[in-house]
């Protein structure tokens, strides 16, 4: 800067003008900030929000137009399904499932009616199933469980006892019949049989 520039009226006026503009700019900034702060402080945002009619805004929105403009394929391509699956906590989901309620709402009879049992049976390979069963061990376990030997012993013993009793009763009747015939032939009066204590009464 030379002395000439210090005294040159154009230079001086230019410098004064720039100084004035800079000062004016900072003053305007301060004024705007102070005014904005005052306006924000005085604004009742809750009241303003309460006066907004969201339903009316929603009515005026053309949702279908928005939907039509959405490129579903593009969104689907950008979705990382594996990452979503990794973030899903399956145990937590399962824990929230009320299995009893689901079971109560199931119509089992209707499901059973729709099952084609014949078709299932036709697809079963029974030979393979039977081949995998240890029938000998199974049979032995069943016989031990129901104690078939005891049943056979009891049944056969009871049958033999009943047979012997029936034979004895029949022979006693035959004896009595022969005795009656003999009494009649010999003109002998029939005498009622005597019984003593400790012995049964034959028929």
């Amino acid at each position: 800067m030379t002395w000439r520039s210090l005294v040159d009226p154009f230079d001086v006026s230019g410098r004064l003008t720039r100084y004035a503009l800079g000062t004016a700019g900072s003053v305007v900034d301060r004024v705007v900030r102070a005014g904005t702060t005052a306006v924000v402080d005085r604004l009742d945002l809750d009241g303003l929000a309460a006066r907004i009619d969201v339903d009316r805004i929603a009515d005026r929105m053309d949702v279908m137009r928005v939907v039509r403009r959405v490129d579903i394929d593009l969104i689907a391509d950008r979705v990382d399904v594996d990452r979503i699956a990794d973030r899903v906590d399956v145990n937590r989901v399962v824990a929230r499932v009320d299995a009893d309620e689901i079971a109560a709402r199931l119509d089992v009879d209707r499901i059973a009616a729709r099952i084609d049992v014949d078709r299932i049976a036709a697809r079963l390979d029974l030979d393979t199933v039977i081949a995998r069963i240890d029938l000998v061990s199974l049979t032995r376990a069943v016989l031990e469980e129901i104690d078939l030997g005891r049943i056979v012993r009891d049944t056969s013993g009871g049958m033999a006892e009943e047979t012997v009793d029936a034979l004895r009763l029949r022979t006693v009747r035959a004896d009595r019949m022969v005795n009656r015939v003999a009494d009649r032939l010999l003109h002998r009066p029939g005498v009622a049989p005597a019984h003593s204590a400790g012995h049964g009464q034959p028929p």
Binding site: R168, A174, D175, A182, A194, G200, Q201
Partner: protein, 147 residues
Amino acid sequence: MTHGDEGSGGDTAGVVSRCLAALVDAIVVAGIGLAVQFAYGGLRLLVAGPPFRMPDLSGWRTGVLGWTIAVLYLGVSWASTDGTLGDWLLGLQVTGRTGRLLGIPRALLRAVFCVALPVGLLWIPFSRRHASVQDVVMASAVRYHRF
């Protein structure tokens, strides 16, 4: 005394029961005789070696053997358990008239009479106390027992 009331015990058994019991006892005696012959054959097989052969007994020896087995079987059964297998099957009891078990001599003698004179059973319907000839001679009685 009425017929069928002899000492202690039940009614005196009739002819049908006693004949059936005798039939069963005859089968048992035949089985015992066969078993004795098998045992003899087996013993001879062990001592003299093969072949196994049943003893070839003459007629009178077979008769004596059968008679002996029958007497022993009947006598021992009556003296020890008051009845043979046939008696048990038909529910009969062989005792003295007082209801006591027969002694061995009396039981064996009764068995001899029974084997020698089986038709003595046919006297039962004509007896007032339903006694066979053997019962009359040996003062024994056969009663219904197991009912």
